[in-house]
Amino acid sequence: MSFDLSLIAVSLPKILQGLGLTLNLLAVSTLFGLILAVGILLMRLSRRAWLIWPAKAYIYFFRGTPLLVQLFVIYHGLPQFGFIRQSVLWPLLREPYWCSVIALSLNTAAYVSEILRGGVLGVDKGLIEAGKALGLSKFQRTSRITAPLAVRLALPAYSNEIVSMLKSTALASTVTLMEMTGVARTIVADTFAPYEIFIAATIIYLVLVWIIQTGFTLVETYANRHVRKT
């Protein structure tokens, strides 16, 4: 097995052609996932069983099954039903891009809602009582005290989830999308040089992860400027 360093150098710019789509999938799914996660979180934290139960089932389902299976169910499974192909959703579900965004968003929403719930549960109840005692309304307590503190507590776990999402975007290559892994797999199929090509892809992913982690460290440092350093 000869190892061709120059092949890594040659394939890097080719793989980078998929960077835009990788980041696009990451950003769009993260955004949709976050919005959905907040909705599920509110259901989960409500006191009504008919809201809590579906939220729990959702979280259980999406955390309990592989993302790849979820993607395949959406991509390959749904079109098996004629009515799906007749429905107004078909122009969306027809597109591998939207299937990937939907699967990634639904999946991350389950994790993020639990991460945020951990943050909410971590907020000192005494602070909520202080807010009540000052006459703040429930909405004001949530928006000024619970939410900002919960977000600060959730940031480290949330940054892990973003990194995990970045890696998950590679699954979109299984439904024909040419994001970085899709490009890499195509080059591999052409060159029969999996080591060099996937090492090139690995380098790019590691750089992205480094950027994400550094970014979150900066955000965390800023958000926790009130915490005394001992």
Binding site: D124, G126, L127, E129, A130, K132, A133, L134, G135, L136, S137, Q140, R144, I145, P148, L149, R152, A223, R225, H226, V227, R228
Partner: protein, 245 residues
């Protein structure tokens, strides 16, 4: 003098545990009441019922003429007239001292930021830490944090101040700086209900002392009576333990 707080045959259960038993207590405007009693006797539960941090199960609670029921609007009205200071300070850690003080006046009283800050600075000066306005709570000592908490409550210009063991979490050398602020407040005529074991403070400031045990108000006396000759055996035992320290 008008009664600002009225508790009538008030009962409170935690599950099956009977935490407050037929509590009757009336507090007049301007009065200073110290509540004492052994740990677990229901002192916190009682004053937390006054601003509905706990819900009572039967009897009546009337604060400033408003009876406390499930009506959220009335609860909010009562809460903005009742200030509370907690044992563990409960300052908002992500806000500066000034932000802690201006939050409720801006959101609840709809005060302009400038006005709220002016008032905040006034009270910070009263509690003797105007120079800490832009620090975060974690950068202050315990005594300073508790004084900020008092100033935060005062910024809402409340009719009544509730204190739940405000000095119990403090290092001994910081207790007096907080008690001094509370004494000043009492002199200015604030209505105060204060759970504390600081008997020196009780003696010099309280109009009445309420002694509780096992969820009941056992005895209500003036400080002079209470310290000289407690009416109940339970109070005598309690005082013996407290003063032995």
């Amino acid at each position: 003098m008008a009664d600002i707080i009225v508790l009538e045959k008030m009962n409170k259960f935690y599950g099956t545990y009977h935490a407050l038993k037929d509590v009757d207590l009336t507090i007049a405007k301007g009065e200073k009441v110290v509540v004492c009693g052994p740990s677990g006797s229901g002192k916190s539960t009682m004053i937390r019922c006054i601003n509905r941090l706990e819900e009572h199960d039967s009897g009546r609670i009337v604060v400033g003429g408003q009876e406390l029921t499930d009506d959220e609007k009335k609860i909010d009205l009562v809460r903005r007239e009742v200030g509370m200071v907690f044992q563990s300070f409960n300052l908002f850690p992500h806000m500066t001292v000034l932000e802690n003080l201006t939050l409720a006046p801006r959101l609840v009283r709809k005060m302009a930021t400038g006005e709220a800050e002016a008032i905040a600075m006034k009270y910070l000066t009263r509690v003797r830490i105007p120079d800490q306005a832009n620090k975060y709570p974690s950068q202050l000592s315990g005594g300073q944090q508790q004084r900020v908490a008092i100033a935060r409550a005062l910024c809402m210009n409340p009719e009544v101040m509730l204190f739940d063991e405000p000095t119990s979490a403090l290092d001994p050398e910081m207790i007096s700086e907080v008690l001094d602020v509370m004494t000043d407040l009492a002199r200015e005529g604030m209505t105060m209900v204060c759970v504390t074991h600081e008997m020196g403070f009780a003696r010099s400031v309280a109009d009445r002392i309420v002694f509780m045990d096992q969820g009941e108000i056992v005895e209500v006396s003036t400080p002079a009576e209470f310290f000289a000759a407690p009416k109940s055996e339970r109070a005598r035992t309690f005082l013996g333990q407290i003063l032995a320290h």
